[in-house]
Symmetry: C2
Subunit: 430 residues, 2 copies
């Protein structure tokens, strides 16, 4: 059964801490295996990819068939049902429009003493996009990762998607085509991450790797970080719904289950001020669980990690919510704006009773790659900013160097850095 | 002797690759030791900090003396020479002014079909700032890390600085006071990082940890990443100077040495199109090396990692520079703007003959915490953005849900996520 907490109970703080601290993922220690896989790909290149893909994915490749052909991509697109294509296209356009507003502006200015300063943003040259295989091979994930990169101006996006026994999700190929991604490799796991980071004969290395993956992919990304950039290492999905008693319990139950069905380690939490409503939602969850194709997963998630927290008033919700720092936060209340103004830590917020989180997964326009595991305290969802980098600019003339030089020399002196001081003094004939 | 490369030589590409790929830091494997230290601090709290500080720093503390007293901070400030204080204050004001321009703007808008979207930025609640002890205990580093956090609106900044046998650099305390940082602990190493990440009886945990440190600190930051945010893991300093033959060789030699003196693993590279000038700079470096208090360090860095690259024309410089992706890039040429427009990967650029990199270390206003080890290909220097995070916003009414819902349901359907679909369909009575 999911946890039931009441914020006025004596043991609440301890129970709430336990909820926050609970480890939801089994920590498989794959680090040694991943180290060996990376070393093998660095040493043997394509040959290692071919051998490992045979071993792990049951697929025999050659250097020539590592890359998915243009004909395969076209065929996947052609085979996609018109209504699916239309939905992907709507999502594509809305995500693109929203992310176009995220492009940062360059800044260049001259200060009061004539020093020129500034910041210039440029796109990362090349990005590797990892797409999981199997049941978690989602076309929406391709859109959410590729579109911000394209909007940022990344020239080269290479994609890796494992093809278990040869099978690729045609919708993943269709989504890639929609985004203009045509460099796709049928490889996965730590070997794909290694190929992106270090390159092989067939695959040129990239500057940054993004996209979700299993424990091997996550461990490999951590290992190659520094050699290349990486996005966040995403954990299982989470939703927090703050709901008053005026909601339809079935709507809220559906929202809680929409995250629970992702993964047995997903977490769905509701905070409400209405005990009868809490019971009604718990009942609705039970009823709906029986009707889901992924009901077993959702039930495990809800029973092991789900929680309903009763508070005397929703005034108490923001402080609890900020400690949870949820990936997704629904504010199913009459006046969501007032509540939102009091909140701080959340990856994405969904305001009002008619904004189910699922809209943000697909067609809202915002990104569905969001900080999990309480990392919304210090990080943000994927955006155009993840695909650009900033160069800071300084420009002085002789007059400005005379004005600022002595202070720089003084600080170099007290820090014991002679050569620092000299690079100024020598220009000032001091 | 430093490497001398000529881009027209047959072996150039191989030599240049070797230069790029050379490992400059000895990789001390401290990961096991760091794991144990973190576990000990998590289990024993203050007692572990006290024991480890006694063992590693030769300093006996109690829970009451972990934190530096307000009187000590005031005394350090009072003991600072007026000219040093004035230089720190100039640096503070300039860094603050520049970083105030980096605050990101919230965005909130309603699209053509009435969907409200947006992004809201909020400050990270609390930050731990690590300051190394010993000779690398730099007041300028306190300014560069604390000011962006303050400008971002971080409410709590806690600082850790190891005090070997009790000694603290009073200028570090004076710089902290200038930045309004008064929560300072005399601890260091992996134990300080663990205390920041997990908290102890005396030290409340933080949401993000920033600041440079030795191999133990770097390994500890990598380990706690996820529990808290971290900034980049900084490597040794680097400078690339692109210089024509019209420079004073002594000026450029001084600039190359200003990075070389930091660390035997630092790297200074010059690209020039003038062979005689290259020789003159090499000679000037030799002469100046004899005059530096840190000459031994600078000599080791220059001989082991320094390089002079001769190109037939500076037209060839941007492509090489982008592959180096230097932390600091000086453009000591007649028309630096034209060259800069052709460049992409650099942490910070210094335009023209009168902008030695050292100005950026102290009083230019830009940040001196910059991406090293070629990571300017995918990352940026420290800024206000490192201390804020973004919440994305979606708000639909019934009409917008009717417009977008069917496409979301279609994508949920093809991804096999029933509960996703239901959270929309149930609201549309479908």
């Amino acid at each position: 059964m999911p946890s039931r907490l009441n914020s006025t109970d004596a043991g609440f703080e301890a129970d709430f801490r336990a909820l926050l601290g609970a480890k939801r993922e089994a920590s498989t220690d794959v680090d040694d295996a991943v180290r060996d896989i990376i070393a093998k790909v660095r040493a043997e290149g394509d040959a290692a990819l071919i051998e490992l893909t045979s071993r792990f994915d049951g697929l025999e490749l050659t250097a020539a068939t590592l890359r998915v052909g243009a004909d395969e991509i076209e065929a996947a697109h052609a085979a996609t049902a018109p209504e699916t294509l239309a939905a992907l296209e709507l999502a594509y356009e809305r995500i693109k429009s929203h992310h176009e507003r995220q492009r940062p502006s360059d800044d260049r200015y001259i200060d009061a003493i004539g020093v020129e300063l500034g910041s210039r943003w440029t796109a990362v040259e090349s990005v590797g996009l990892y797409v999981p295989g199997g049941t978690a091979s989602y076309p929406s994930s391709v859109l959410m990762n590729a579109i911000p990169a394209k909007v940022a101006g990344v020239e080269r996006i290479a994609m890796a998607v494992p093809a278990m026994r040869g099978a690729l999700n045609p919708l993943v190929l269709a989504a890639a085509r929609l985004c203009g991604v045509d460099e796709i490799y049928r490889i996965g796991g730590a070997q794909a991450i290694a190929a992106f980071a270090y390159g092989t004969e067939t695959i040129a290395p990239v500057a940054k790797i993004v996209g979700p993956g299993n424990a091997y992919v996550a461990a490999a990304k951590r290992r190659v970080f520094g050699t290349v950039g990486i996005d966040m290492v995403a954990g299982p999905s989470e939703i927090l719904v703050i709901a008053d008693g005026e909601n339809d319990p079935d709507w809220i139950a559906a929202d809680l289950l929409s995250q629970a069905e992702h993964d047995v380690a997903a977490q769905s939490i509701m905070i409400t001020d209405d005990a009868a409503f809490a019971d009604a939602v718990a009942g609705a969850v039970e009823r709906q669980l029986g009707q889901l194709s992924r009901g077993e997963t959702a039930r495990a998630s809800w029973n092991d990690h789900g929680a309903i927290i009763l508070v005397p008033s929703l005034d108490a919700a923001p402080a609890l919510s900020d400690r949870i720092a949820p990936e997704h936060l629904e504010l199913a209340v009459e006046d969501p704006e007032t509540l939102f103004a009091r909140l701080r830590n959340a990856g994405a917020v969904f305001l009002g009773r008619h904004t189910p989180e699922v809209i943000g997964d697909y067609v809202g326009g915002s990104n569905h790659v969001l900080p999990t595991a309480r990392s919304a305290r210090f990080s943000s969802g994927l955006s155009v900013l993840d695909f650009v980098k900033r160069t800071s600019i300084l420009k002085l003339g002789p007059e400005q160097l005379r004005a600022l030089g002595p202070a720089a020399m003084e600080l170099a002196r007290v820090e014991g850095l002679d050569a620092h001081g000299r690079s100024v003094s020598i220009r000032l004939n001091l």
